[in-house]
């Protein structure tokens, strides 16, 4: 391996999108960071916040409309036209297919993944502006959520970190 510049010591990962493919990458990166001994703060905002709403985070889905790269029945299949993606149940079906593949890689469902990151020492936060906008309270969150933060507090907590927006 080539000369290593300074090792990454701390990251802040922002999850802002509420689809399955919007939430998982940030979770996988957060967990992977902990596996490397990197300090992690996870910040959920806008529709990404659904990833930490205990009533909804089991049911996060893939968008089959407005997702022009999506192919069926697998990644090398035919493109899925928007009008077909519109058929009721398509999103649920695509989600089911993808979840099956995710499970094969031993990547846990979202609620369990939050627990895993939390147990690994990753800290999980919700965005104040979104929480106010959606009229949410502490009871709506998964138990691993530590606190609701303002943007200012997020930057304070992120001191010395690399910030990753997803």
């Amino acid at each position: 391996m080539s000369e290593n510049p300074a090792k990454i010591k701390k990251v802040s990962i922002i999850i802002s999108k509420g689809s399955l493919d919007g939430i998982y990458p940030g979770l996988i990166m957060a967990n992977g960071a902990r596996m490397e001994g990197i300090e992690v703060n996870l910040f959920f905002t806008f529709f990404g916040l659904y990833g930490i709403l205990k009533k909804y985070n089991k049911g996060i889905k893939i968008a089959t409309v407005g997702n022009p790269t999506m192919r069926v029945p697998d990644a090398k299949g035919l493109p899925l036209p928007t009008l077909v993606g519109l058929i009721p149940g398509m999103s649920a079906f695509a989600t089911w297919m993808m979840k099956r593949e995710i499970e094969k890689l031993d990547i846990p469902p979202i609620p369990e993944m939050l627990e895993m990151i939390h147990d690994a020492g990753g800290r999980i936060f919700a965005c104040k502006a979104t929480v106010d906008m959606f009229h949410l309270t502490k009871e709506d969150f998964s138990p691993q959520v530590e606190k609701v933060l303002t943007v200012g507090e997020f930057y304070e907590i992120s001191a010395g970190a690399q910030i990753i927006f997803t």
Binding site: M1, G32, M35, G37, D106, I107, M116, D119, A120, G121
Partner: protein, 104 residues
């Protein structure tokens, strides 16, 4: 490929310090690698993890994921406490196994 003296014997290691030949591994070498990784003493709990990784690797040809370790060996929290700062990598290195090749 390089050799390194661990616990008084010459062992083949790669550029990151993982053993190239698992048959050269023994408990003294494990303890020596652990010291280099900042673990002063390997306790019974450490050995439980090390042995689990070795058995699983032998059976499946790959290291277990953190999730599998949580279910089948030690809880995630404890795993991170036992091998601070990169538990799977450290535990694999101490167990004489290759660097983890999975994202989870």
């Amino acid at each position: 490929m390089a050799t390194k003296i661990l616990a008084g014997v010459n062992v083949d290691v790669n550029e990151e310090g993982y053993l190239n030949d698992n048959s050269q591994w023994n408990k003294e070498i494990a303890a020596a690698i652990a010291k280099e990784e900042g673990i002063a003493e390997l306790t019974a709990e450490h050995w439980k993890v090390i042995e689990f990784l070795q058995t699983d690797y032998k059976e499946k040809g790959a290291l277990p994921t953190i999730r599998r370790i949580n279910v089948a060996c030690v809880p995630t929290k404890e795993f991170y406490t036992l091998f601070p700062g990169g538990p799977l990598k450290k535990a694999a290195k101490i167990a004489g196994l290759p660097k983890p090749a999975s994202c989870v």
